[in-house]
């Protein structure tokens, strides 16, 4: 198959996932044309996932595709954005149409789950890599930033942390072909949920937010640096699934949960949100009173 046949097959497989009420022109022209709702600002991010660096290239392509979309869309959640659209650049070492169709099916499932339209892309020959540019919308001036945390704010996380790291540490992810092969831990690695509804609910309330892609300590560290504050975490409060160590919950990446801060006691937290610590004026990050270097967690554990 040539490049254009492969693109046609992808667009066919995506079906309605290439369209939406805001999409004026989807795949097939030099660029897509998208309407932006009145009063909204655009939220834009790009992520790249490299084969055998960010995911096991031998794993099932549907799992790889699903994860690529969710991982990228997680940045929209962290900004409190409503879902918009995505563009995908696929670098493929060969032209295996079956593999590409399965990858596309996985992407489509994640796109439909999130309500994101895939409006364009690029296919190139090269070592396996998937770049996803995602875009969403927030009312002007209401994006959740990393820089708004203030002393006295409480720190929260969604879901549980460390399960993806535990799955990676246990091994065997390359043997997972599809959803039926996943247990509780490997499911958290391959099928994270981009927390778009949670991000939306936080838009008027959180003082700062980030998604946990590199580990709680490191990502919370970005909030502390951007906000010019410090934090105290209570390790016992960090939510984790059975089989997940404290180190994995604090420093493991790939969870794509949200970490956010709220001023004052929250009126009512969404289900599945856990209070894990407090923002303080003293710079630095402490776990159970012991200082840790946020960016240097690898040396700490």
């Amino acid at each position: 198959v040539n490049e254009f046949e492969l693109i046609d097959a992808i667009v066919t497989t995506l079906g309605p996932a290439t369209t939406g009420p805001l999409v004026r022109v989807g795949p097939g022209d030099d660029a897509a044309v998208v309407r932006v709702p009145t009063g909204m600002e655009l939220i834009s991010s790009i992520d790249a996932l490299v084969g055998d660096v960010h995911f096991p290239a031998a794993a099932g392509p549907a799992l790889i595709g699903y994860r690529a979309i969710m991982v990228s869309a997680s940045d929209l959640a962290a900004m409190g954005a409503e879902q918009g659209f995505a563009l995908v650049a696929l670098n493929l070492p060969g032209d295996d149409p079956i593999w590409v169709r399965e990858l596309t099916c996985g992407m489509r499932r994640a796109l439909e789950q999130l309500g994101i339209a895939l409006v364009g892309g690029n296919i190139a020959r090269g070592p396996l890599a998937i770049s996803v540019s995602v875009h969403g919308f927030v009312p002007a001036g209401q994006a959740l930033l990393r820089s708004g945390a203030r002393p006295g704010d409480r720190i929260y996380v969604t879901g549980t942390l460390g399960a993806a790291a535990a799955a990676l540490a246990r091994g065997g992810l390359a043997e997972c072909r599809d959803e039926a092969d996943l247990d509780a831990l490997s499911r958290r690695y391959f099928m994270p949920d981009a927390r778009l509804p949670e991000g939306l609910a936080l838009r008027d309330r959180a003082s700062a937010a980030i998604d946990v892609s590199d580990g709680l300590l490191q990502d919370l560290g970005h909030i502390l640096k951007a906000s010019g504050v410090g934090a105290d975490l209570a390790s016992a409060s960090v939510p984790r699934m059975p089989g997940v160590s404290l180190a994995q919950a604090l420093a493991g990446g790939d969870d794509y949960e949200l970490c956010f801060t709220l001023a004052g006691p929250p009126p009512a937290l969404p289900a599945g949100v856990t209070w894990v610590g407090e923002i303080v004026a003293t710079p630095g990050l402490r776990v159970d009173g012991r200082p840790v270097e946020a960016a240097g967690y690898r040396h700490f554990f």
Copy 2:
């Protein structure tokens, strides 16, 4: 250097190229926040350039960076878009900060020339690849599409065609370190001009447009397919520089000029625009009366 130090260095090197009147939040948060001008629709595209597939990885990084931005922005020109912003995902095999700084300088030069802000990005370890997601604006409903060509429209191209292909055929591109090493042909390969002003000027006038990235025959073929028409080209009228063969001008890619169609004789064409043929009702593409298969030019020559 670690990932975050590298990102800080890139943002510092980009300087004012990360900001602009529409950029509310640039690099450094989970995503960028961009204002969209009232009444405008968003034009969005993604391109990927893989080392030693789409450019010689040994060439000067400033040339590689400049070209990556121009090649990607060319899709905006083909849509008649005003420049907006870009996101870049860099997959780097190592962490050579000097190489990355030079790459960034090349990108910055192209960004400043085009007036495009680089508002976010991603750095990953992996085989060398650069993915660029570019975004611009058009008044609602005015994007230049591939699908509007009608029988009787004349076909035009900007600039000259085939010089980049001639430079590739001649060889030696990997030895080019910076602009001083470029002659007329290799300059067209490494330093194409995304035709944003020409695209803007065509917005109310052209019936169809595309950028010539894969060769005139193939790219014009996309217009013909999307518009359901055919075309006759006159080979003698195809503009080319000295040292460029007709085959290179017709089928060579990497020029990033615009090919467009206009109904009726144009009132006044911008300088450097050449009339090369005519849209006809008869399907297919003919050069000097001889049929060529648009998508199969490689077999024809």
